[in-house]
């Protein structure tokens, strides 16, 4: 066995804190090492050439690279090995940057640690075995979960490329939060105007199969071959027949708060969320429908029978199975629950509202047809409070919601437009106007006579028939009380309440802010940690519309890679069974979280016995099986007991 060891300076990132020359000398005397070199940037083209040349000239059969984390460049170096004709899995990386030079101050000790890490990598490398990477076919279809702007964009991009898309939306219509908004900052386009054509495109797209009023309930399989179970909730209306004539709603006698308008108005029990809904199909609210509850009302049924006869009370919940190659998650956000900040009085006063409620008030299709009327009156003094539920450790949200500064500025502008006489005050902590045209818009709003006061209000309370917002103006250094008859709370963004459920369904991780975690914050911002599953929009973190759209298109592009290549390489680090050692106890079968192991009969001499057998396609390579096996028969490739133990032994030695 011939090993090559390659030690990277990473410019000065490693070299500054690790004695690279000493490390190279040290590497030279390690067992089986044929050649040891150090280089400025091992990951660079010339660096990789060094490795390739040595593989060819010295006939190296294992390569150890001491550099940055394997999570950074393992793939880079594997490719280098492959191009030099060596199996890419004959590589071991010693992480002497992230876990050594960057975290230790004492150069001597960092060098000593680097020696140990390198010795461990060398001892493991000697035991590495070439692994075969297998390919599997990809189902040429994608699943998009969530029908907000991100989901819509992703679905359209994928479908336009010619692949089938299943778009699942839990609400009766796609559109998400964006369809509820009035104008969009900073350009002031009408949100619905720019969104509804895209929604219509979804509805009409030959490659998109829309599952509205549906949820994903189970996902099995792996990249290229996901099997998804979708639960279709009964609308009690035949989507193919309903022409959204609206007769039914006229006859329906039950009125319930209209959730689309954030309960600021009422709707009927049989309803369409909003006129441009896609699909353009009514839905019956099962919690309130008299027929469904007590069977004593058939008004809508009667009237519909005279029309398209679309109402069907016999509809049942339906489970549909689809097969897809990739999945885009675009489950969006929820608004921070402002009642958890009781000092702002949202639960007490009707004229304290949230930013989204303001959007509905201001929206021409909203409950007041766009007039800003609260308690029957046009407010004279309007106060906006920013950062409600954002940048606030007391409610567990340390992050900035990224949209509130600008939507507040936009809403202040709308107030100015609609109520030219009103005084408008914005309380803010910092104004973050970082996007294209944002600062200019903020400036414009200030010019329009909107008073920005720096300070985080401590309380909103009623004095007489008016509200008082109490705050410390931290620029003036004074306590201020501002009277208002409308207070708008710029509530922040939190992950959709179903995020945790989605995460466990798809085995995705969540970051501490509870948004879904991307595979890498810089380099893989739209990938999840699971192959074939991508993230778009606010499920990954707060975003404005252009960012959501951009990420959605990125996620679509990423998910198209396996679809268009038609093949994915399944990971090689699966488990394998040494059959002669297997006693067929089935502990691994029980322990495997992926049902990837089964017992299979084999003949051993005259005896027929059962041994474990791994389905490499289902195996995700966690190695749980290997840790419960008493006879050591099942092992994980590249993480076998003997490989791990060799590292343990090497780390236990002292090196000069």
């Amino acid at each position: 066995m011939k090993l090559g060891v390659y030690i990277c300076h990473c410019g000065v990132n490693i070299k500054a804190n690790v004695n690279v020359a000493k490390l190279t000398k040290f590497a030279e005397q390690l067992p089986r090492v044929r050649v040891a070199r150090d280089y400025l940037y091992m990951c660079s083209e010339p660096g990789q050439q060094l490795i390739k040349k040595d593989i060819e000239e010295h006939g190296l059969d294992r390569v150890v690279v001491a550099a940055c984390s394997p999570r950074m460049h393992e793939i880079t170096f594997r490719k280098a090995l492959r191009s030099a004709g060596l199996n890419p899995h004959c590589l071991e990386i010693a992480n002497i940057r992230e876990q050594c030079s960057w975290v230790h101050e004492d150069r001597m000790k960092a060098t000593q640690k680097a020696q140990k890490l390198l010795a461990a990598a060398v001892s493991k490398a000697a035991l590495l075995e070439p692994l075969e990477e297998k390919e599997v076919e990809v189902t040429p279809a994608a699943l998009v979960v969530g029908g907000g702007i991100a989901g819509i964009q992703a679905a359209l991009d994928i479908a336009d490329t010619g692949y089938k898309v299943y778009l699942v939306e839990k609400e009766p219509s796609i559109g998400g939060h964006m369809i509820q908004l009035d104008k969009t900052f900073p350009t002031l386009d009408c949100s619905a105007c720019i969104l509804t054509p895209k929604m219509a495109d979804v509805g009409n797209h030959p490659n998109i199969e829309l599952f509205s009023y549906s949820e994903v309930v189970a996902v099995k399989g792996f990249v290229g071959n996901f099997e998804v179970t979708i639960k279709k909730k009964p609308r009690y209306i035949d989507e193919t027949k309903c022409n959204a004539c609206g007769q039914c709603a006229q006859y329906c006698s039950i009125e319930v708060p209209d959730s689309f308008n954030l309960n600021l108005s009422k709707r009927k029990c049989i309803y369409i969320p909003f006129p441009q809904s896609v699909p353009a199909c009514y839905v019956i609210d099962p919690d309130h429908c008299r027929y469904l509850l007590t069977r004593d009302c058939t008004q809508c049924l009667e009237v519909c029978k005279q029309g398209t006869n679309a109402i069907d009370f016999t509809q049942k919940e339906e489970l549909v199975e689809v097969k897809v190659g990739t999945i885009v998650i675009a489950t969006g956000y929820d608004l921070f629950d402002v009642t958890t900040k009781p000092e702002y009085g949202y639960h007490l006063y009707d004229n304290v509202i949230t930013g989204l409620e303001f959007e509905r008030l201001s929206n021409a299709s909203g409950p007041t047809t766009g007039e800003i009327i609260i308690n029957g009156k046009k407010p004279k003094d309007v106060v906006f409070i920013q950062c409600v539920g954002s940048r606030d450790k007391t409610v567990g949200n340390e992050y900035c919601s990224r949209v509130c500064c600008m939507y507040t500025a936009k809403q202040a502008h709308l107030v100015r437009e609609k109520l030219p006489q009103a005084t408008i005050t914005v309380f803010y902590m910092d104004v973050r106007a970082f996007g294209k045209g944002f600062e200019e818009f903020y400036d414009r709003v200030k010019q329009e006579g909107v008073k920005y006061r720096r300070g985080n209000p401590s309380e909103v309370y009623r004095r007489g028939d008016r509200l008082v917002v109490k705050a410390e103006d931290t620029l003036q250094g004074e306590l201020v009380e501002v009277e208002a008859d409308l207070v708008v709370l710029a509530s922040g963004i939190i992950p959709n309440k179903q995020t945790a459920q989605i995460a466990s369904l798809l085995k995705l991780s969540q970051s501490p802010d509870r948004f879904l975690l991307e595979a890498h914050p810089k380099l893989r911002p739209v990938d999840s940690a699971s192959d074939g599953i991508f993230l778009a929009g606010c499920c990954q973190g707060p975003k404005d519309i252009p960012d959501s759209v951009a990420q959605a298109s990125a996620a679509a592009a990423k998910s198209l890679i396996p679809l268009s290549t038609g093949k994915v390489i399944i990971q090689a680090l699966t488990s394998f069974v040494q059959e002669s050692d297997c006693r067929g106890c089935g502990f691994c079968v029980e322990a495997c979280p992926f049902d990837a192991i089964e017992l299979r009969e084999v003949k051993r001499g005259r005896r027929v016995l059962e041994v474990a057998s791994v389905n490499e396609v289902l195996c995700k390579g966690c190695g749980v099986c290997a840790s419960v096996c008493l006879s050591g028969a099942i092992q994980q490739k590249s993480f076998a007991d003997r490989q791990i133990l060799s590292m343990v032994a090497a780390l236990g030695e002292e090196y000069a």
Binding site: V103, S509, P512, K620, C622, V624, G652, E654
Partner: protein
């Protein structure tokens, strides 16, 4: 002069959370003592407590096993399975008179770079206080 006790601590870190978290510690340049040396595994569920015993036998004064927070395992259950095994093994160690504090387990996510450095600092201090593990010196 007595040589100052410089403990040898071995860590088994899961690829997805704690190893990534340790990488983030590096990227963020949070410092911690160099006593701890990590072995990457794909999941804490891979870790067999006998590996811990082997680490002690080969000279570790302390062992850290770190993985994803409960419910966040990349493989769904690996960390839960590991926790159970390590719990039992710690009890066994204690019963034969080896301080169970020498075997630590932590949950460090990919985003908890700061936490990782704190964990390493604390465990290093802890093992320094306990002194060298001499049971396996022979």
């Amino acid at each position: 002069m007595l040589k100052k006790f410089d403990p040898n601590i071995m860590a088994f870190l899961c690829n997805w959370c704690s190893y990534a978290g340790a990488d983030l510690t590096g990227t963020s340049h949070f410092h911690y003592p160099p006593n701890l040396k990590a072995i990457r595994v794909m999941c804490t569920g891979r870790i067999n407590p006998l590996m811990v015993a082997a680490a002690f036998r080969h000279g570790a004064d302390g062992v850290l096993i770190s993985g994803c927070h409960p419910g966040e395992c990349h493989y769904m259950e690996g960390n839960y399975l590991a926790r159970r095994k390590i719990f039992v093994f710690r009890n066994l160690l204690e019963f034969v008179g080896i301080n169970p504090e020498r075997l630590q387990m932590s949950w460090v996510s990919a985003s908890e770079g700061k936490k990782f450095s704190n964990v390493v600092k604390e465990i290093t201090e802890k093992i320094k206080k306990l002194g060298p593990l001499t049971t396996f010196d022979e």
